[in-house]
């Protein structure tokens, strides 16, 4: 069965690009438009991987990650941050919040798939 990935980003174009690329690579993709939406969708169905933007309205990526980690079902689900900020500060914050890694924007779809495959297999 195809693995499901939750893609959270407030930018429609980037979200669609991520979703399209991942679908092309054979994954199922659930999309969410902000942290809160992401949290709700994550609760509906436990996914195999979460990709989240950091800077979003309503709930940002770090808060989403913290909230997800507080859920029993997301204790060990890999979470990657997709962010334009790759400062060590941001990495430290992401790590503290419970993220497993980061991927800096802008990225190439190929790179995204490569990273995702590394994390959850194809």
């Amino acid at each position: 069965m195809a693995k499901t990935i939750l893609a959270v980003d407030d930018s429609g174009s980037l979200r669609q690009m991520v979703a399209f690329s991942l679908k092309a690579a054979g994954y199922d993709v659930v999309q969410a438009v902000d942290g809160q939406d992401g949290l709700n969708k994550a609760k509906e169905k436990t996914v195999d991987l979460v990709l989240t933007d950091q800077n979003m309205p309503i709930m940002d990526g770090l808060t989403l990650i913290k909230n997800l980690r507080a859920l029993g079902s997301y204790k060990s689900v890999p979470i990657l941050m997709l962010t334009t900020e790759s400062s060590d500060e941001m990495k430290a914050k992401g790590k503290a919040a419970g993220a497993n890694g980061w991927l800096v924007k802008p990225f190439d779809p190929k790179r995204l798939i490569e990273v995702v495959q590394k994390v959850i297999g194809s």
Partner: protein, 772 residues
């Protein structure tokens, strides 16, 4: 596998355009003295999102500007810099440039590089003024927190608290010309002490000692080169780093033994972008991503050589190897450093619960479809309406008792068709806000340019109008608003002297009235001066008389080449425009009306049909043919008595209606068509009004009122003077839709009743005809 990114361009363009419009709206409404944090954050996020998208989809010109913009906005939203009017102006021009660049990518329109350069210079100078810090506390903090987070440093205190508050950066440049490098060195010299050295490989490295942040450096460099190609390193006490190693291969340095170097390496965000933290506490850092410990690659995943970089303090590794919840503890232990202080500082103010994302939320419940699909749907429904009308007509000839069930079913079909038509038409409807939203900015800029104070009010922005009309109303409305600000509203002193408030009020309103939408531009300015208009018209050689009504006098401003402005400004007053405005609106089937009171203001009122596809019409017969007259242009219909018809020498026949003499236009002679009814008393006169002029159209009979689906005559046949389109009637016959404004003009030019020049002499050149 290759993924064609261009398929996401449209989405990005739409999104960026929405974000730009939103940012502009927020900028215009911002309170300079106490800017709202949430608004600043929203503007920042807009710049941030556009930058992310532009970078992803490869629109580097947009990335460049948004990058600088974002940095400036970031400082402002963190209160490291006070927001000034110059900032707002610069941001607004940056928005314009971004929009221009966006259009350039999307529609292949011209991008004015001078304007782009101007904005860059302005933004740059504002960035350089970054030292203007509003809070004295922040002065001390400013260099440290911003510089520190970007460094991976074993002994953070060394970097975060340099004795002199200065940081030494090594900036490795990509291959650029010596001239560019020198220019850059000069520019960077403004930040501090900049020394440029040429490396063996021909590249330049600039060593900069400054109290500015890395962001400032990037901002400056990004005007000359792509920040992606830049490697900035923060040198420790002694500048021993050889940056070109990093330029050649960031990975190599990363995996190599020169740990000191890799730790003080400050690659800008695009440089090192991803990483994984591995189980043994060694980070898996590759170009572009990273995984934090404890990360276990999936069993299915290909075995990957993890790249080691054990910069994580061991205490933190132990902590983070436990459950994720405990990772917070690790973070807490880190907060002993100045680094974490700034982490906290950055984390708290940014988010809030109340922020709403209407665009994003709306997107989930809406879909984007191409306009051609909608138009096809509308066309099909149009055909369906015609077919339905045909069936209805056939049915009416059947015996109602015998065919009752059939008649009932058709009645049902009629209702369903009407509902379907309405629903389909509503797809094309857009709120007027789409047009109105561009004016606050324009009015603001204009008023500033002219030294006037204008309060801009919009009413009924939610009123909906067909998309095609919305797009076509933009130019005429822009012209009218511009005119109102330029000629209508007076200078503050003049207003004060006239006993009015210093700020003029300009109101843009939209409302539904019957089957049309009425859009009005109202100002409380000087009003139109009747005497001035008449004098000007006379000197322009227009036919005027003292007896003209105010309405007729006001209509004079729509004459070509007419301008009453004494001074032609670069804003308006060149005399081109109002006639174009009028023509555009007539072409849309609209009517323009002017109401004005000297000293109190002017209202220009535009009435437009709700849609271009359907028309409320009155069918009239002439001989064997049927014609359709747009209902909104009919004043009344009457059967004249013989004594009301007068013949005036040189003017042809006139009809006397309620104290007015109106010229009679006989349709049969105008269209050169045979009919048995040639005496107006035997037929019907339809009183028409367009462009402030009235005429009586003489036809045989009134047939009935109905909605007709407009078909273009031009695309199916050719342009015919006096006819704006065609429609298919219930019985399958084609009926022509009359162009009332053109008919009145044709009627004035010649009197056809008296057998003057025949219709065939007229070409579309000398008849201002409009065609739907």
């Amino acid at each position: 596998m290759t993924i064609d990114m261009s398929q996401f361009y449209e989405v990005f363009f739409d999104e960026a355009e929405e974000l730009l419009a939103e940012a502009e709206r927020l900028l215009l409404g911002i309170n300079l003295d106490s800017p709202d944090d949430e608004e600043l954050n929203a503007i920042f996020r807009a710049a941030h999102s556009i930058k992310g998208g532009a970078a992803t989809f490869g629109f580097m010109d947009m990335t460049e500007i948004t990058h600088v913009l974002e940095n400036l906005l970031d400082k402002i939203r963190k209160h490291e810099m006070a927001l000034t009017a110059e900032h707002v102006d610069a941001f607004l021009s940056a928005k314009d440039v971004l929009k221009m660049e966006l259009d350039g990518h999307r529609l292949a329109t011209d991008v004015d590089q001078d304007q782009v350069a101007d904005v860059k210079v302005v933004l740059k100078s504002l960035s350089e003024a970054g030292g203007v810090v509003i809070k004295p506390v922040a002065v001390a903090q400013a260099p440290a927190p911003v510089a520190a987070p970007v460094v991976e440093e074993k002994k953070p205190e060394v970097v975060t608290a340099p004795a002199d508050g200065l940081n030494r950066f090594n900036i490795a440049l990509p291959e650029i010309s010596e001239k560019d490098a020198n220019n850059l060195q000069e520019e960077l010299g403004l930040l501090g002490d900049a020394v440029s050295t040429k490396q063996a490989n021909g590249r330049f490295v600039i060593a900069l000692t400054t109290d500015s942040t890395q962001d400032d450096i990037i901002s400056i460099c990004s005007f000359v080169l792509d920040p992606d190609d830049l490697v900035i390193t923060l040198a420790s006490d002694t500048p021993t780093i050889v940056p070109e190693h990093i330029v050649e291969s960031a990975l190599e340095v990363e995996s190599g033994t020169e740990k000191t170097e890799s730790k003080s390496k400050v690659a800008i965000e695009e440089e090192v972008g991803y990483g994984l933290f591995s189980v043994d506490g060694k980070d898996d850092v590759e170009e572009g991503y990273g995984f934090f410990a404890p990360f276990k690659p999936h069993a299915d995943a290909a075995v990957v050589q993890l790249v080691g970089d054990d910069t994580v303090p061991s205490a933190e590794v132990i902590a983070s190897e436990n459950a994720h919840a405990e990772v917070h503890v690790a973070a807490a232990s880190m907060s002993t450093s100045a680094k974490a202080d700034s982490v906290e500082k950055k984390a708290t103010p940014a988010r809030r619960e109340s922020d709403k994302a209407p665009a994003a939320n709306a997107e989930t419940s809406s879909i984007r479809v191409g306009i051609e699909k909608v138009d096809q749907l509308i066309n099909l429904v149009g055909e369906l309406v015609i077919t339905q009308a045909m069936i209805e007509q056939r049915i009416s000839m059947l015996d109602p008792v015998e065919h009752e069930p059939l008649i009932n079913s058709v009645g049902q079909l009629t209702r369903n068709t009407r509902d379907l038509q309405e629903s389909v038409m509503s797809i094309r409807m857009m709120p007027m806000d789409f047009v109105f939203s561009r004016f606050p900015r324009m009015v603001r800029d204009l008023a500033a340019k002219l030294g006037k104070k204008v309060e801009f009010v919009t009413v009924g922005a939610a009123t909906e109008l067909d998309k095609g009309l919305i797009e076509r109303i933009v130019d005429p409305l822009t012209h009218l608003v511009r005119n109102s600000v330029d000629h209508g509203i007076e200078l503050p002193e003049k207003r004060k002297a006239a006993g009015k408030g210093e700020a003029g009020v300009l109101t843009l309103s939209a409302a539904h009235k019957g089957g049309s939408i009425v859009i009005e531009v109202t100002d409380d300015g000087a009003g139109l001066n009747r005497e001035k208009l008449l004098a000007k018209a006379q000197s322009n050689g227009l036919a005027v008389s003292e007896n003209m009504t105010d309405t007729e006098v006001f209509q004079l401003i729509f004459a070509p080449g007419f301008s009453t402005a004494e001074v032609v400004t670069d804003v308006s007053g060149r005399g081109v425009g109002m006639d174009v405005v009028k023509r555009n609106i007539s072409a849309m089937g609209g009517v323009v009306e002017i109401r004005s009171a000297l000293g109190y203001g002017t209202t220009i009122s535009i009435a437009l049909p709700l849609t271009l596809a359907i028309l409320d019409g009155m069918s009239v017969s002439l001989g064997k043919s049927i014609y359709v007259i747009p209902l909104n242009l009919i004043v009344e219909t009457l059967q004249p008595r013989a004594e009301d018809i007068k013949t005036v020498t040189g003017e042809g026949r006139m009809v006397h209606v309620r104290g007015e003499y109106l010229p009679i236009i006989a349709l049969h002679s105008l269209f050169n068509q045979h009919t048995d009814i040639t005496d107006p008393t035997e037929g019907v006169l339809v009183l028409l009004e367009a462009d402030g002029k009235k005429s009586a159209l003489f036809v045989d009979r009134l047939v009935g009122q109905q909605q007709v689906v407009i078909k273009s005559l031009e695309t199916n046949y050719r342009k015919v003077p006096g006819v704006s389109g065609a429609t298919i009637m219930g019985d399958g016959c084609v009926a022509l839709i009359l162009d009332v404004a053109a008919l009145i003009q044709m009627g004035q030019a010649t009197n056809y009743l008296t057998g003057a020049p025949p219709f065939s002499n007229y070409t579309s050149n000398n008849i201002k005809s409009s065609n739907a």
